[in-house]
Amino acid sequence: MAGPYNGVRVVDTTGLAGAYATRLFAGLGAEVIRLEPPHGSPLRTLAPFAESIEPPENSLWWAYLGMGTQSVVVDPDDGDALAQILSEADVVFEDRLPEQSPIAADLLPDTAIRTTIVPFGLTGPKRSWKTSNLVSWAASGVLYATGFQDRVPVAPAGHLQLALHASAASALVGTLLALRARRTSGTGQEVEISMHEAALMFAPETGVPVFLDDRVHRERSGNRRDLGRPFGLYPCSDGFVSIIVLMPRHWNAMAEWVAETTGNETIMEEVFQDLGVRMESQDLIDTWVEELTVGRTRLELFTEGQRRGIPITPVNTVSALVDDPHLLAAQFWSKTQLPNDVEVTVPGAPFRTNSDWWNITPAPLLGQHTETYLG
């Protein structure tokens, strides 16, 4: 069958705060119209760019997050065009406060769902505050707890704009719930996402209920944590691996591996089976583990460690992921087409189904579908 949201018309006026949602929506069958101003969506200005393509078609963010959507250019002053596009919308995604929105309530049918993604929500003292991926993580408690103790705190994977995608994915959840409610009620409603709360939702570990319970200030602890040993990142010949040893059986397998490969018999001593002892001698344990890891590659350590039943993974880079044997065997990677007809690798469907849901076209040129909808 076609995607489950085939026949649902979505109008997206957002930038990065909503783009991941409407991309997914499109992949699941919805007809997503991205309203762009004459100079193009803000997504089109985001690096990295494809070198041989001219603006506004060269942003790889656009080429990725615009996939599956239709581009319709509407001049902000052209009320008639806006009204025409909105009159048959099932869903509208916005990233503005109501008083800044060009979409008056009477432009939407009462069956429409209006999904609004704003920095700190539609109420409260910070209602008009601005945000960014970095600022969202700062406000959620996550930023403070990430990084090395003697260094400036850092956002988790800043490049990826995770806090914004968390907002977008939450917005899609709310929208799909509202579509389901409409089956019974026959009417649309409003979905509200505070980007601050979307980040808070990802962070109960640094949140208030947990803090009230243990009164522990979550300080930065670099890339190892004092919950066990080995626990965290360890250097190897081409980067790092992540090793998480908590369970007795995992320690036993780990000690055996170190002993077999480095000739270290001391690590096999029974006393180290005690987590407390390992914590007291953590520098020694880390040194011994590093004697195993430093001369080997990520992939060697990953496959051999996993064969031994140890929770170990490579600290992957983009290049390692693109070449990863499992992802290649599973045929995860997909292709899309850039405006210059060059094919480029992109992540495939975010999940697999036994029914044929996922289908996604290349990102449109600016205004490619204006004629279709307004002609």
Binding site: M1, G3, T45, L46, A47, P48, L60, A63, P119, G124, P125, T131, L134, A138, V142, L143, Y144, F148, P153, A155, P156, A157, H159, L160, A166, S167, V173, G174, A178, V191, E192, I193, E197, L200, M201, P204, G207, V208, P209, V210, F211, G222, L233, F240, V241, S242, Q306, G309, P314, V315, T317, V318, L327, V344, P350, F351, R352, T353, S355, W357
Partner: protein, 443 residues
């Protein structure tokens, strides 16, 4: 099925959940909030990690051992408003009872390893044989296809972020990668995708009458967030990696020191208007930094300039000044800052609901807000095994005697010592978290 008077979006939807830690429990919690009857299957032989953690203040209290599994703050964070049924699936009797429940459910949700699920006889084919129209959503670490190379590998919470590339993107350029395992974005991202997949599955079932099998390899799902960087690598061979708090899109963006120990403010002022506002506050307008390209090319120097300026300010005061001038900024909040944040409080982010063991409990709300069909929290718990008898009787149609026999045969268990009640040490002032409530008895 469960509640016919309200009009919540998932009213009448029943979910069978085999969840551990975050990825599928958090998805189940979202669905419970919006009206689904989510049945969390629990085991005493291999309990969910949130049951093992317990709570800091009961750790030394042997007299409260029976209550301990119900006291971790992560129980409501991941499981509020669900029903808990104690079933030992490795026993034949326990598994039979599970199958009777599954026959009455709309959704099957699990983040057990694919091999573990198959060994329990609860893979998609087995479940669909009992309930052909079920929406079956599983979240194994590496997918459910036994032919794939990493199928048998151990997926362990904190290893997920490095595996999918997040750790390599985290930290300052000159440093080793910083771990981000204090929190686990991949788990939550997988949970949101699972919710989207479940709602899509229910939509398909409404239209065609057919169920679906959704296989969410957590490895693959999070990689969907790497799109532009995968493309750039394919086109040019560029391997993007960590750049601290800098942005590829402009400067300045960073975390800057303020007065006091470990006080910081995060600022993004990359666009023209924001920079104009920031430089005007700093009193440095009208120099070469007004050129966006110059800011980008000299961002370290710019950072030093800003740090010199911020370091004299109180962080909260400065964040307010910046926002008042139109600059995106916030204190780098500690958990203590969050405790005192009036904005978060004013939005009812923290919620309180009844709890069979604790009387009432406090937990984080839900970022998804619907105007006409808002979710609800029926219970802060559940206590482990609290609803075993009720659910096996109401849903699976077992008699009281049958349930008792199943419990006696160790195929199921009920709540231990329900008469052992405890209160959190901060129970008396929980109401301070709820705006507009001046008397705790109102709750």
């Amino acid at each position: 099925m469960s509640n016919t008077t309200s009009q919540l979006p998932l009213d009448g939807i029943r979910v069978f959940e085999l969840g551990i830690a975050i990825a599928s429990p958090f998805c189940g919690r979202l669905m419970a909030h919006f009206g689904a009857d989510v049945i969390k299957i629990e085991s005493q032989l291999s309990p969910d990690v949130v049951r093992i953690m317990g709570s800091a203040w009961v750790r030394e209290r042997d007299d409260l051992a029976a209550a301990a599994p119900d006291t971790s703050p992560y129980v409501p964070e991941m499981n509020a408003s669900k029903r808990s049924v104690g079933l030992e699936l490795k026993t034949d009797a326990g598994r039979d009872a599970a199958l009777r429940l599954i026959a009455e459910c709309d959704v099957f949700l699990a983040n057990f390893g694919a091999r573990a699920l198959a060994e329990l006889g609860l893979d998609y084919e087995s479940v669909a044989a009992i309930n052909p129209n079920i929406v079956y959503v599983q979240l194994p670490g590496f997918g459910s296809d036994p032919a794939m190379p990493y199928y048998p590998f151990v997926a362990w919470g904190p290893n997920q972020a490095p595996l999918v590339g997040l750790d390599d993107f985290t930290g300052h350029a000159a440093d080793p990668p910083a771990g981000i395992a204090t929190v686990a974005p991949p788990d939550y991202m997988s949970a949101l995708h699972a919710t989207i997949a479940t709602l899509s599955g229910l939509e398909q079932r409404e239209m065609t009458g057919e169920g679906v099998h959704v296989d969410i390899s957590q490895f693959e799902t999070t990689l969907a967030l790497l799109g532009p960087f995968v493309m750039d690598y394919d086109l040019t061979g560029t391997v993007h990696s960590r750049i601290g708090n800098h942005s590829l899109w402009g400067a300045p963006q960073g975390v800057y020191p303020c007065a006091g120990h470990e006080r910081w403010v995060a600022i993004t002022a990359t666009d023209t208007e924001s920079w104009a506002a920031l430089s005007s506050l700093m009193g440095t307008s009208g120099n070469e930094f007004d050129e966006a390209d110059h800011r980008m090319a000299h961002r370290e120097e710019l950072d030093r300039l800003i740090s010199d300026w911020t370091s004299g300010f109180d962080a909260h005061d400065l964040a307010h000044r910046l926002q008042n001038a139109g600059v995106a900024a916030h204190v780098v909040s500690t958990n203590e800052d969050l405790l005192h944040d009036t904005h978060t409080m004013s939005r009812n982010w923290y919620q309180v609901a009844p709890h069979s063991r604790l009387g009432r409990d406090l937990f984080s709300g839900c970022a998804v807000k619907l105007s006409d069909t808002p979710g609800r929290w029926t219970d802060a718990g559940p206590s482990m095994g609290q609803h075993t008898r009720e659910v096996l009787s109401d849903v699976a149609g077992m008699s009281d005697n049958e349930v008792s026999e199943l419990v006696a045969a160790n195929g199921a268990f009920e709540q231990i010592e329900p008469e052992t009640l405890v209160s959190r040490p901060w129970n008396d002032w929980i109401h301070l978290f709820l705006p507009g409530v001046d008397d705790a008895r109102d709750l």
